[in-house]
């Protein structure tokens, strides 16, 4: 865990990650910009400040773990891991190309520092629970963080895992719901509304923190509160904006799974300068 000096620094880091996301998806000509951009602050705070991890020793048994349930948002994960030193920054633009370590969805065959291969929505929370249980059995300090999409939590397996986590008091795990209100085909409320979402997690026995998922101070506080919550798993319901940081992608369902054109990339990079 390396405490970053000031807010400005972490905000600049987030901008840099957003530029990577836009550039790599443009270069790939396919991919998922919206859900990558909405998750930037959460991953930045986790990897820069909250998680105990060592990029030089990715297999350190006592490391904290991060699982990206919504695997399609891997450009944000690859960029953050690369900037932390796990993998080369200059290769990010090989995203989705033949032989690249940066596969279309997280794939441990190509990038072993990843904690899980994901891409089929709904499985990340269960995998994370297993990791957290193993850490508990080993008596280790390791904590597990799982990021879930709001569309993703329509999968029944999420709620099976949610019951398990509370019943087995898995308090070394925190889930983050990237509540950007948009899934593949459109707005979550039109496809399969999740509300009342905080009440659902509460009734499943979780400690629930609702916050602005782009507010770095709020994220810091929430992760600290999660670590302090004993006897219960914690979920952060992070209200976010899909496509955050690029005006024409914000709240625009089109950019769930559409790559920007070269011209759009230029516009986006100007906004992210």
């Amino acid at each position: 865990m390396q405490q970053v000096k000031d807010l400005g620094e972490i905000q600049n880091f987030c901008k840099k990650i957003r530029r990577h996301i836009v550039e790599m998806i443009t270069e790939a000509k396919s991919g998922h910009p919206g859900g990558s951009l909405s998750a930037v602050e959460t991953l930045a705070v986790l990897y820069l400040e909250v998680m105990r991890h060592d990029p030089k020793n990715p297999q350190w048994p006592d490391r904290d773990r991060f699982v990206l349930g919504k695997g399609h948002a891997c450009p944000v994960l690859y960029s953050v891991m690369a900037e932390c030193g796990y993998c080369p920054v200059d290769q990010l633009i090989t995203l989705r190309k033949l032989g690249s370590m940066y596969q279309g969805h997280p794939d441990r065959r190509f990038l072993p520092a990843l904690e899980a291969s994901t891409g089929s929505l709904g499985q990340g929370l269960s995998i994370g629970l297993g990791m957290a249980l193993a850490a508990r059995l080993n008596g280790g300090p390791s904590r597990t963080y799982v990021m879930l999409g709001d569309g993703e939590i329509q999968e029944g397996q999420i709620w099976e895992a949610a019951m398990f986590a509370a019943f087995h008091k898995v308090d070394n795990l925190a889930a983050i719901v990237d509540y950007n209100k948009i899934q593949l085909d459109g707005f979550v409320k039109d496809i399969m509304d999740l509300e009342p979402l905080a009440a659902k997690w509460q009734s499943f026995g979780w400690h629930v923190i609702t916050l602005d998922g782009h507010d770095i101070a709020a994220l810091r506080e929430a992760f600290a509160e999660a670590e302090g919550a004993k006897g219960k798993p914690t979920v952060l319901i992070a209200n976010t904006i899909k496509g955050k940081g690029v005006s024409f992608m914000e709240n625009n369902p089109k950019f769930h799974g559409t790559a920007p054109s070269r011209e759009e990339m230029a516009l986006a990079l100007k906004e992210l300068a």
């Binding site: 790939a28 000509k29 396919s30 991919g31 695997g71 989705r96 190309k97 033949l98 032989g99 690249s100 596969q103 279309g104 969805h105 794939d107 190509f110 291969s117 994901t118 891409g119 089929s120 929505l121 709904g122 569309g151 993703e152 329509q154 999968e155 029944g156 899934q183 593949l184 085909d185 039109d190 496809i191 399969m192």
Partner: protein, 322 residues
């Protein structure tokens, strides 16, 4: 003039697109047709149906297992439900539900459509690629399993699937594929279709490997080999008579498919050959592995799903046939 020059193989629509269009026509004809989606309507192309018949369209959220069982319930209420998603999700996440709610009880009139089958989806990579769906679907007793090769046959099989009473799995692909058939062709569930006459070897295929088999026959013709090409859109029930004839008349069979060799059409054909008229066989498919991210073209090349590898397999078969 060689028989196979009648195939121009002009690029046509993707089979998922043909499926989406035919579904709308079907909806107009038959008010009992209903559609369930799991947040992929713009990819499976059922969004056209949703637009025209919103009251007969159910958005299930990202919940494929739920969707499958809801479909089975709709069927028992007298509807003709089409439940659609990427093949990898509807078959793998919905498999146990298919088994218990659709295959095991008799007479469940459920239609399951899996799009984005095979590795030709490209850049999204193996978590979205269905290479075992035919092994799963054909393992369900009572299921009819169909993998059309082009837009014409897909459109026909959407209607035939609805007319057939019982559970059906229909396999569709993501990329545009060449047109093999003209509008005059008649299709029947359970019947193979001879495309090119030949006497030395038979090239059997389904899906996008049919066009590749036609191209392979052209390559082989240049080498003085007369290759028969047969499209097998119905994987189950198998047209064992067409297979027996191919074995008897050509003495060598190459089966090609965008699927794992394990559990694919090839092993089923081998079973039929063993039971009727043993002959040499070769298999072109994905060998005991998952693929990766790249362009569809690069992947088909790398994993050997091309006319060149079919021709090579035919040469191996001919050598052993002697």
């Amino acid at each position: 003039m060689p028989a196979n020059t009648k195939f121009e193989l002009k690029m046509g629509a993707a089979t998922r697109e043909a499926f989406g269009k035919a579904l709308v026509e079907l909806g107009r004809k038959n008010k009992d047709v209903v559609v369930c989606d799991a947040d992929l309507s713009k990819s499976t192309m059922v969004h056209w149906f949703a637009k025209e018949f919103p009251e007969r369209f159910f958005s299930c959220g990202i919940a494929e297992a739920d969707m499958v069982a809801i479909g089975a319930g709709l069927a028992s209420g007298g509807k003709i439900p089409f439940v659609a998603s990427f093949s990898v999700f509807v078959m793998n996440k919905g498999f146990e539900q298919l088994r218990v709610t659709a295959a095991y009880p008799p007479d469940v009139n459920l239609k399951v459509v899996g799009t984005h089958s095979g590795i030709s989806i490209g850049e999204d990579g193996p978590s979205q690629m269905s290479i075992e769906d035919l092994a799963l679907a054909t393992a369900l007793p009572g299921f009819t399993v169909i993998s059309p090769c082009d837009e014409v046959s897909m459109a026909a099989f959407v209607h035939l699937a609805a007319e057939h009473y019982g559970p059906v799995f229909l396999r569709a692909g993501r990329p545009k594929v060449p047109v093999v058939y003209n509008g005059d062709q008649k299709f029947t569930i359970g019947k193979a279709i001879g495309l090119v006459e030949g006497k030395d070897v038979t090239l059997l295929a389904h899906g996008l490997m049919v066009a590749e088999s036609i191209r392979a026959a052209e390559i082989l013709e240049g080498e003085g080999v007369s290759a028969r090409v047969v499209d097998m859109p119905t994987i189950k029930p198998l047209d064992t008579e067409a297979i027996r004839k191919a074995a008897v008349e050509t003495g060598a069979i190459v089966v090609s498919e965008e699927h794992l060799v394990d559990g694919g059409l090839g092993v089923k054909v081998a079973q039929a050959v063993g039971q009727t008229h043993p002959c040499v066989m070769e298999f072109v498919g994905i060998e005991n592995t998952y693929a990766e991210s790249a362009t569809p073209h690069e992947l088909l090349e790398k994993y050997g799903l091309t006319a060149a590898s079919i021709a090579e397999a035919a040469r191996r078969a001919l050598k052993r046939k002697g």
